[in-house]
Amino acid sequence: MKTANPVEILSRLAAAKVEFIVVGMAAGVLRGAPVTTIDVDIVHLRQPDNVSRLLSVLGQLDAVYRHDPRRLRPNESHLTGPGHHLLTTIYGDLDCLGTIGDGESYDDLCARSPDLELRPGLIIRVLDLPTLIALKEKAARPKDLAVLPVLRATLAETLKRA
């Protein structure tokens, strides 16, 4: 892996017009939460054309399943399903998720994922903080509960600025 560069991963996806939503703690960071994470989670649109664009970018990024010593690469049938694909790339770890929470897909999450300008002219969708908080509350694992105070405080500070 080169130096981890999550912005480069997201920029390449956006430049290739892949339809995706940033979720998980990378969404929290993009929305201003001072937390650490070492991967980028996305929920992608599982429509064939979009999966094809996603696979093209994953190829450029040399993405392989990160817990598989055979260095397997994701394919179309993998990414059109609802499962989770935990990949590693030349710019760091990337999780491509068919669904999250209670089976929520790209289409289900779109309305709660406003646009965000990553770089000038490069727009991506990022899950909003209320939805991220709701998902963490529902998951309720210790790791989810641990970040809730920071996410809630970030939402409060964000609302003060609105």
Binding site: V7, L30, G32, A33, T36, V150, T158
Partner: protein, 62 residues
């Protein structure tokens, strides 16, 4: 850290700890950055710790 980002990262300011122990000042500093700067800051922070971790592993016996 990239020079431009290093210039944008605010200098440490007085903590503003809320009832849950969360430093609101740190959050406000993050909100002052652009979204890409926030993500790069975290990536660079985590990356900067890796050599320390590797060196520590090398020091472990066995």
């Amino acid at each position: 850290m990239a020079d431009d980002l290093a210039e944008r990262v605010p200098v440490p300011c007085k903590p503003d700890i809320d009832d849950n122990g969360v430093d609101r000042a740190q959050i406000r500093q993050m909100l002052d950055l652009t979204p890409a700067e926030r993500l790069l800051l975290v990536a660079e922070f985590v990356g900067s710790l890796r050599p320390v971790r590797r060196a520590d592993e090398d020091r472990q016996p066995g």
